[in-house]
Symmetry: C2
Subunit: 217 residues, 2 copies
């Protein structure tokens, strides 16, 4: 009768209505935080009954788990594909940066949620899945850089594990202080803001990482 009681998260099937709920939840969680968003908010915007969230996902907590799972499954693949491509090391790194920015741009909401709601260690389950994802990503980045080092293009005294923080961190900080940068760069429209990211911010990050990787004392 009840579709998911005593079920594990990864086996929940996603019909249209569930995906609709997840999308609304993503936006609201990202805008107002997990605690700041009520199930009534979600059901109102998704135009469903309050009970449907519990009916479909079991609880608000498990809705969050389902959301994180749903939005991160395909991220891993994209980086692994990049590994196989036949590109020069620096081109690969630049493409890596573009992929990161693009991915996070497309999923702004969930990344905000991931960072904010997984910071306190209580949500063990979601956190573990997220950690595994990051480990996989780090491996991909590692082998791209080591390829460049083996070819003598990249210097070897860089802290590879800290390159991702610089890429994502720069982008994220820009995003988290959006209204500030909108003001100082005079980015009046959504389009102008996105264009700034696509051109200037991406270029800055690529320039930074390139300098770090190829600069000789």
């Amino acid at each position: 009768m009840h579709p998911i009681r005593n079920n594990t998260m990864s086996h929940i099937e996603l019909n249209d209505k569930k995906i609709q709920i997840l999308n609304v939840a993503e936006r609201l969680f990202s805008e107002k935080g997990f605690e700041g968003t009520s199930i009534r908010d979600i059901s109102k915007e998704a135009k469903i009954n309050i009970a449907m969230v519990s009916y479909y996902f079991g609880s608000k907590e498990r809705l969050l788990e389902a959301l994180i799972f749903h939005k991160t499954v395909d991220l891993k693949l994209q980086l692994e594909n990049l590994l196989q491509e036949d590109l020069e090391p620096l081109e690969k790194v630049n493409k890596l940066i573009e992929i990161y920015i693009n991915r996070i741009c497309l999923n702004k909401g969930i990344y905000r949620v991931l960072h904010f709601e997984l910071y306190n260690k209580k949500r063990e389950k979601s956190l573990q899945a997220f950690t595994e994802l990051k480990k996989g990503n780090l491996k991909s980045v590692e082998s791209i850089i080591k390829q460049g080092q083996a070819l003598g293009v990249f210097r070897k005294d860089v802290n590879i594990q800290l390159i991702t923080p610089t890429i994502i961190g720069t982008f994220f900080h820009f995003h988290m202080n959006r209204s500030f940068f909108e003001e100082i760069f005079d980015l009046k429209t959504e389009e102008m803001f996105n264009n700034y990211i696509k051109n200037d911010l991406t270029k800055h990050i690529q320039q930074t990482i390139k300098a770090l990787l190829v600069y000789e004392n």
Copy 2:
């Protein structure tokens, strides 16, 4: 009778009990978020009556405002002092990075709160104060870099406004994914974690910014 009704935030005097409340609030807001922290949580940990928060600060919202104001007033000065120091451009930049990291380390809590709770634009008042703070900081950074450019030490095609996001963003991303980095770097104790920041992470950021600023094609 009531000490603060119809009063503006900046004029609230801070006695010991208020500061105690602010400190507890900072920790809890940072751990569980603004919405995730109840006044009862705060009053319990601060060992005061629930009504005292409203009595002292007027409301939970104004408690947050007071917290932000209280914790950011002296940040501006530190950067302005650095400007006056007689150092080589690169030394100045390195010291700038150390100041940033140190400041945020000392005030981890409030910076988390600032980023998370000020992201949605509803809290106009606190947001504006924060924006002014960032503008001032940017000015300091700008003139440090321009000094280096005038001396011919730094290249001129860097996006100065995006340097702070790289510094703070890298550090913040590291902090927000603390448990992940604790795992991959095997940082078992608080001390080891702080040492990693003080040595490796700081070095990485300094190395990155140096490369960006002095690298020639």
